[in-house]
Amino acid sequence: MKSYLFTCIIALLTTFQYAQAQTVTGLDGFSIFLDPGHSETENMGLYNYSEPEKVLRVGLALRDMLLTQTDIDTVYMSRTSDSQQVPLTQRDDLANATGADFYHSIHSNAGSNTQNNTLFLYGGWRSNGQTVEKTPNGGKDMGDIMETELTDAMRIPTIGNWADRNFYQGSNVENHSNQYPYLFVNRTTNMASVLSEAGFHTNSIQQQRNLNADWKRLEAQSFFWSILEYLGVERPPVGIAAGYITNADGAKTLNGINVQVGDTTYVTDSYESLFHKYSSESDELSNGFYYLDGLENGPTQLIVSGEGFYPDTLDINVIEDDFTFTDVALVSSVPPFVATTSVGEDNEINPGEDLIIEFSRSMNRSSVENALSLSPGADFSLTWTSNKKLIISTASFDFESSYTLKIDSTALDNSSYAHSLDGNGDGSQGDSFTLTFATGPVDIIPPAISDIRPTNTRLNELWPIISATFDEPLDTTLFDENTVDLSNSGYSVPGEIVYYNVGDRSVINFFPSERLAKSKNYTLTFSKSISDTVGNSLGSDVARTFPTGDQDIKNETVVDDFESGLTGTWWTPEQSGSTEGYDPEFTSVEIDNNIVNLFSESTGAMRINYGWDTDETSHLIREYRGSKTTPKFGTDRILQVYVFGDGNGNKFRFMVRDGNGELEGSTWYTVDWLGWKLVTWNMAEDETVAWANGNGTLNGNLYLDSFQLTYTPGQPATGFILFDDLKAVEMGLATSTEESPVAADIPEEIELKQNYPNPFNPTTNISFGLPQKSRVALKVFDMLGREVATVYNGVKTQGFHTVSFDASNLSSGVYLYRIETDFGVISKKMTLLK
């Protein structure tokens, strides 16, 4: 067993004998340490293919190129197999012991599905306003070369070659507090070094390319050329034709396409040849990538063919000093047909709902519109969201009627072949499409209200989010200051209403703009005028009374307010090896700038989109907080976070790592609510659950490890959840001075204060007070009475407010500012002095 375990390791330090004649000289006396990052299947990427698996193969291909094509002295490697588990300290100890001349750490990046770029990090930091490279120098030069070569090879954007501390801790500083490299491999290697990040293994397009064996050779080839250039050695001639084969209609990359140059052929990956290892769906994955090596240089023909497409032949010139990239878009020979419609199995559609027709390929819009007819006739409009997708409005359709939609065979596709419609979908063009459907009855049912929060039990918080859920979308144009009323002894608490549509349902959240008084009874009323989109209203007010408690936050430790984004902290779900039973297509993490906690004036919340593989038996998404071990907090704190739920009934929980390094979690919270809700884990009183190495007991100081999500069988398999303002808080008796609004803060009548500063240049502040919630228009006029600016136009709560006015566009002079409210109008003068 031991000898088997270590069999692969001997290869690490072996100086390989060259298997074929070397063509490149000038690398004698040079040795390099290649470090394929991570181990085993850590940092899992999409499709269950990990970063370490990919970068190992890039490293091995690069090693082989150096050894077989050059006179390099030695190539060392930190790993040569997928089964080795090598910590960072051993990698650097081994590299330092070898005395190698250069250290190249090979990685790929992780983030959202939309990110994909190259990045290079050499050891460096800011000192006296300058960026300093670590000694020995060389990492920056190599990074500059690799940035060009790898980026050109991958044909994706780059975010550059950075001094590592500048990248992670900002470059716009005079001095970094730590005057040494940020990354371990740069900090503790005693040779020149660079770390490369070749695209994102969390980007679906990139990761489908990463699956291809020759894609890794392409990356290695660019590193090979980079090393030659770094040493001032000319690259040997090559003959490499590469590119992507796509469907001209929609640009989807194509599987199983033959690509030929002379006698050399390549077949793009297919489900049968490769993708069955990474997906159970035969049409999920494709990359369209081809890589023909060993070609003769000079003009030749690239012949591309595949089933269901017209073959194409292109003249190319295979160059000797770089890749010869040629992308080919093949035209489908399959005539267009109607792929889907929005009419369900019940064959019914409600007037007002969109009737959506989706074609199999891009269509000539006017030919479709001319070919389309409806019987019996009704008014409708047509909207194309793409050349494939047509939306037919049904607002004018009669209720409880039968209609037949016909698209004649004169509808044509957009290709140069102009195929006519295959209406019956038999594979032959030239027949019409017919869809018969019924319309439903008129909607006379008012929206149903449910899950009103707070409930009628005593509140533990004095800043509650008011919430009510509805079973259908609402008409928001009818919302006004009476839609939600929260009052105590006749005093209505000011606040802000937000409304969200989630699927077929909707939710109203009301954020009070002042703390509620302690130990009082409040009445919450949702107005009878709340209506659905076709005018059915609640009909009567829905009221609830609840008592407030006397506790408020005394101390708080902000763990993350998500105002600084996720980069460098929160991993993507698939990066954690613990994440399982999920569907990568629907799973991602991102910052949401629209759905945020209004209490903290937040501008961003962390949104996790999830999808579960319901065929699996174990389901876990671990949203890991990366290497952040701060802030620490005690076991006497309450961990709290504002959670926006999708109401799908799946679950989440908190996970912390305690002073013994053990992972301990809260119990699961079932997300059966829609909208925002404060969720708390009282770690001193609530149950603690062991996970991984945990024991169910919280010891010492804690830090947040992760949020975890899991699936509830039978519930929807896809959805989302948002987290904002994660804190560890200590509660205590609310102070009386902070209780109800101070009378002096609410004017008896409208007030407009003198602007400050005055005179001003170019900005000033204008304050005003309102006795009640009111519409407000604050406008500026010149002395001739001409309106020159609207400073604010909207609704404000009772009390005092301040708005800022920027007069950059105005010339010096005296101006009039005027506030118009429900309670009257007031004007004052101000002086702009530029």
């Binding site: 031991k2 270590f6 006396g29 910590p87 051993q90 050891g123 000694t135 040494y180 491999v185 040493l231």
Partner: protein, 319 residues
């Protein structure tokens, strides 16, 4: 399943050892670690006590330079700016430090063996070479320096004299790492004997116990081990790195790290009994990412570094 036979073998050794061992006092950390060496804009690392316990040698990030302080961290003085801080070792008289240095020419590193003396002088032992994939080792009571070159022993005169206390002793073997071996050697024969416990493994961070009877080492991609100098008595001490011996040769201090592939996210120092019975976390009460420990010759203190602030810390130890 194939592991059973070797495990049984180890268990039998363990039981033999337990039967002859007397109880050993257990090292216990005393209080919080305190900073002992700190300089603005400097990151120090890899502290190493001199054998007489009167000096501390340190290097900085990238193993650049060597510095020496008194045993209390005071009187910091630079020995060299050269890249000399990886794999250095004190002479037994605490007057010299043996190391490998390098300089770049035309993108290539030239490496040489040097001895730096605490009086500020230095001796270059070898010429600068294109390749030197090994670290130098003291041999023959420090009179010689040996270096593995293409699998063979090269020996050099260190120009140091045998300490008086050593003159009556028998010849002293040296222990070195070869490409895939732990080797025991002798000068002037310049011969080596393979005493590796595993075939086809790569070894790191070989440390000889103060009593000269045991070796501690890491297996690359594997665990930390100790064994007798004849290759017998192998003991697996689990995941731990960069071992250093306690003066009683019964404990090792090493670091247990976690990393995310880019940086160390957690590291604690552990005292590991060489019989495998004790594994004591010495830094559980601190949030410091404690690395690169070294046990003082009197056993009372452990030095370590942390990249968090670039300072050298000392942790007091009681028994």
């Amino acid at each position: 399943m194939m592991k059973i036979s070797s495990t049984l073998f180890l268990l039998s050794i363990l039981s033999l050892q337990l039967s002859v061992f007397t109880a050993t006092a257990q090292p216990v950390p005393q209080g919080e670690p305190t900073k002992i060496i700190e300089e603005p804009d400097m990151v120090f690392m890899n502290p190493s006590w001199s054998p007489d316990g009167e000096k501390i040698a340190i290097t900085s990030a990238r193993y650049q330079g060597l510095w020496i302080t008194d045993e209390n961290g005071q009187n910091l003085r630079k020995v060299t700016d050269e890249e000399a801080g990886f794999g250095f070792s004190w002479s037994s008289d605490s007057e010299s430090i043996l190391t490998r240095v390098s300089e770049y020419q035309n993108r290539r590193r030239k490496l040489a063996v040097k001895i730096f003396h605490t009086d500020g002088s230095a001796d270059q032992i070898t010429e600068y070479r294109d390749e030197m994939p090994a670290l130098p080792t003291w041999a023959d009571f420090d009179q010689q320096v040996v270096l593995i070159n293409e699998g063979e022993v090269e020996a050099f005169d260190s120009q140091k004299e045998v300490p008086a206390a050593m003159k009556q002793k028998t010849r002293q073997p040296f222990y070195v790492l070869k490409t895939d071996q732990i080797a025991k050697g002798m000068v002037p024969e310049n011969s080596t004997e393979n005493i590796s416990p595993f075939q086809d493994a790569t070894y790191l961070n070989l440390q000889v116990s103060p009593d000269g009877r045991k070796l501690a080492f890491e297996v690359y991609g594997g665990n930390l081990y100790v064994m007798n100098i004849d290759g017998t008595g192998l003991m697996d001490l689990g995941k731990a790195n960069r071992p250093k011996w306690a003066p009683d040769s019964k404990y090792i201090v090493a670091m247990v790290t976690e990393d995310d592939g880019h940086n160390i996210t957690k590291s604690d120092l552990y005292a590991l009994s060489v019989d495998g019975t004790n594994r004591i976390n010495l830094t559980s009460s601190t949030d410091l990412i404690a690395m690169n420990p070294d046990w003082s010759p009197n056993g009372q203190q452990i030095l370590f570094d942390t990249s968090q602030d670039g300072a050298i810390y000392v942790l007091n130890i009681a028994y």
